[in-house]
């Protein structure tokens, strides 16, 4: 943040609009000196900066609520608004920002009523076009230089030692952590860990994936089905083979004269049996087909009766009139012409005649539908009759076939018995073998049936598994995504923790080293500033090899504070200058605006600090009294001053003592007699071209 200018309007002692005070921005001549006596507005200028940027006032800023210039209030008529504002311009990262904070008060008969405070901001990227930023002005300023750090850059030099007081240790530690980016890293780690927990909870809601288990089951069932199918093929072949074998074995009976006829009869009966079995199967199929195609017709007889009743009622009520249709009449009326050629104009007698037909005519659409449905219902009734006939016929056929089959079975059994009991051992043997083959075939057929049943069950299971697998695959994608997010978050946390460790090792020690260097250059005391692992700044002394905290004086604490601020500015600038460090505040250049600098310090320390601070800070604004400026401060800073202003106090006191300051050989008034009854402060720039 590089401060460019500040201006006031009715702010505290500044009456009306002041000229814009441009600040020194040169790299070497980076210091702006503002001269003024006590109580004329130096602290108001310091607070002007903090009010615009952070809506904050310094501790010493008496009656912060009395922001508006008294003369401006006095001159306003009752009820009239008096505006007071401060406008600050600064540059950051190639952009110029112009912020204005304004407050309004309303004068009442006896008092002043405070209005609200508003903040306005405009930004330009250097092309001269100003625009209102998207973000809130406070957010923009906080990104550049966080509010909690402002007291280290805008401060009262007489009270600067307070930042290192014991009760402020935690505050300065927080500020240091913020400036070094530690706080950003800590919070990132903490909040990423919270986000990770949420992601893990999301993962749990997806549930344990059973996809592998399901796929294994799927594969198992598939191999079972395959094995059954293979076995089924084998069985089929085996049955065919056994049948041929049976025919061959049984065929041998035909070669034996004694049972030739018996065997031939048996073969005939068996072929008949096979034929009848096929016929029986066909009849059963027919029966099934009848029931599924026409079976419903026998259940509709009651509904058909209801339908006919409805139609009858419609007819009785005149709803289904035959003859001329309502639609036909409507067409004639719409066309405004009758079939006889007469025109059916509105309100004509002819039209009224035709319209009367609307009352008499029925709807052809309803009538057509009724006719069509009646035909369908009649058809259903006929179907019911033919269904029963067909079923009866088929039942008779089935019964007959079963009867014939029964007779054939009995005769075959008789033949078998005869052959079994045949006196010839050879015949008995052959018959036994035929029976064995039949048993074998029967077993194979049974196995085949069992396998078919098993295959059906397995196929149902497979369908079910496929559905489950598809669902799980969808979950698997969600799970993988959640896992990838958790992995990335864990990695981010690990890396941030590592950066934190490294940063502590590098930045903290590096900062400590710099504070020590600066402190030792300024202070004559042999004390050593230390930054603890909690980022607490303490002044230590080394007594007989043992480090002990020092009970530091105000002066020593002021030196420590200024050393710390200078070191921070120096190190953050150095780190940011090397590479864009996202965790650090965006500002790599810091201004120091210091009221009453180096208050309680002795001459040597003042001289050292006066030399170091303008070197460390990118920009310095000092607000000084004549006595604060004269001597070592003037000597050390003189060659760094780029801008200089005088605050001229116009006193309303009738016999006020005039005061002057001499700069570059020119005498400037510090106190003047006010031309009216009000006191106010005027800002005058020192002409630095005069030698």
């Amino acid at each position: 943040m590089k401060l460019i200018s500040i201006s006031f309007c009715n702010f505290r002692s500044f009456y009306g609009r002041t000229p814009e005070m441009f600040l020194a921005v040169d790299e070497v001549k980076n210091t702006t000196v503002i001269h003024g006596n006590n109580g004329v507005g130096k602290t108001s200028i310091l607070n002007g900066f903090t009010w615009v940027l952070y809506e904050k006032f310094s501790a010493a800023f008496a009656s912060a609520e009395q922001l508006v210039n008294k003369r401006a209030v006095a001159e306003a008529s009752p009820g009239q608004a008096v505006e007071c504002y401060v406008e600050v311009t600064w540059e950051h990262d190639g952009k110029r920002y112009r912020a204005k904070r304004q407050s309004r008060v309303y004068r009442t008969e006896s008092d002043v009523e405070a209005g609200k405070t508003d903040m306005f901001m405009l930004v330009t990227a250097g092309d001269g076009r100003w625009f209102v930023p998207d973000q809130h002005p406070d957010d923009i300023i906080n990104q550049i230089l966080p509010c909690s750090l402002h007291q280290y850059f805008f401060f009262d030099g007489e009270r600067i030692e307070k930042i290192v007081r014991n009760d402020k240790k935690a505050e300065i530690a927080e500020a240091t952590k913020m400036l070094l980016g530690v706080e950003v890293i800590n919070r990132s780690i903490r909040h990423l860990a919270e986000a990770k927990r949420s992601l893990e909870a999301e993962l749990r809601t997806i549930g344990d994936l059973e996809i592998k288990k399901l796929l294994k089951q799927h594969n198992n069932i598939e191999s079972q089905v395959e094995a059954i199918s293979k076995r089924s093929f084998e069985i089929q072949q085996e049955i065919e083979y056994q049948n041929i074998f049976k025919q061959e074995v049984a065929g041998r009976l035909r070669e034996l004269g004694a049972v030739k006829e018996l065997q031939e009869r048996r073969q005939h009966l068996e072929s008949q049996k096979s034929l009848l079995q096929k016929q029986l199967a066909k009849s059963k199929d027919n029966l099934q087909r009848f029931i599924s195609n026409q079976g419903y017709s026998v259940l509709l007889s009651e509904k058909n009766i209801q339908f006919r009743n409805i139609i009858e009622k419609l007819k009785d009520a005149g709803g289904l009139k035959s003859g001329i249709s309502r639609e036909f009449v409507i067409n004639l009326l719409n066309g405004s012409k009758c079939i006889c050629g007469s025109y059916l104009h509105e309100h004509s007698q002819a039209r009224k005649h035709v319209e009367q037909w609307l009352e008499k005519a029925g709807s052809s659409t309803v009538e057509e539908t009724a006719i069509r449905m009646t035909a369908q219902v009649d058809e259903i009734d006929k179907q019911a009759v033919s269904f029963w006939q067909a079923v009866d016929t088929e039942q008779v056929r089935i019964n007959e076939t079963r009867q014939t089959l029964g007779q054939i079975e009995t005769e075959l059994q008789e033949i078998k018995e005869k052959l079994r009991k045949n006196p010839s051992e050879e015949i008995r043997d052959i018959e036994q073998r035929v029976e064995d083959i039949e048993v074998k075939i029967s077993e194979l057929i049974f196995e085949q049936g069992r396998n078919q049943q098993q295959t059906d069950t397995l196929n149902i299971e497979l369908d079910d598994l496929n559905k489950q697998i598809a669902k799980q695959k969808l979950n698997e994608e969600r799970q993988l995504l959640a896992q990838r997010r958790i992995t990335a978050t864990t990695d981010a946390i690990d890396r941030l923790s590592e950066v934190k460790t490294r940063q502590e090792n590098h930045f903290r020690y590096s900062l400590e080293k710099r504070v020590q260097e600066i402190f030792s250059a300024i202070s004559p005391a042999p004390y050593i500033p230390k930054i603890s692992d909690k980022y607490e700044l303490t002044l230590m002394e080394n007594t007989l090899g043992v480090e002990m905290p020092v009970a530091a004086s105000t002066g020593e604490n002021q030196i420590l504070s200024l050393s710390f601020i200078s070191s921070i500015i120096d190190k953050v600038r150095e780190w940011s200058g090397k590479k864009k460090m996202l965790m650090l505040p965006e500002s790599s250049t810091f201004p120091i605006v210091m009221d009453s600098p180096f208050g309680s310090l002795d001459e040597i320390s003042r001289r050292h600090i006066a030399k170091i601070v303008p070197e460390m800070a990118n920009q310095l604004v000092v607000l000084v009294t004549k006595t604060q400026w004269r001597g070592e401060l003037e000597e050390e800073i003189a060659n760094r001053v780029g801008k200089e202003y005088i605050l001229i106090y116009h006193s309303s006191k009738p016999d006020c003592e005039q005061d002057y300051i001499e700069l570059r050989g020119v005498r400037y008034p510090l106190i003047r007699q006010s031309p009216n009854e009000f006191e106010y402060t005027e800002i005058v720039e020192v002409n630095r071209d005069v030698e």
Partner: protein
């Protein structure tokens, strides 16, 4: 993080090199693209909220960042 051990040993080597910014930033600059993006976006978010007292919904915003980056 698999790199942890390497990272730690690197650290030991450079412990005395206090100002080695590259080394401090190395865990980020060597991170996979999505991890680097998450860190940078989270940093920006945290930085914007440094001075806010309430952290309400920041975890939700971070979740949104992670879900936006890793898709």
């Amino acid at each position: 993080m698999k790199k942890q051990s390497k990272v730690s040993s690197d650290l030991e080597n450079t412990e005395n090199n206090f100002d080695d910014i590259e080394d401090v930033q190395a865990p980020i600059s060597t991170a996979p693209e999505d991890v680097r993006k998450i860190i940078e976006m989270v940093w920006q978010l945290e930085k914007n909220r440094l001075d806010r007292k309430s952290f309400g919904h920041i975890s939700d915003d971070i979740l949104t960042i992670i879900k936006g980056v890793v898709q």
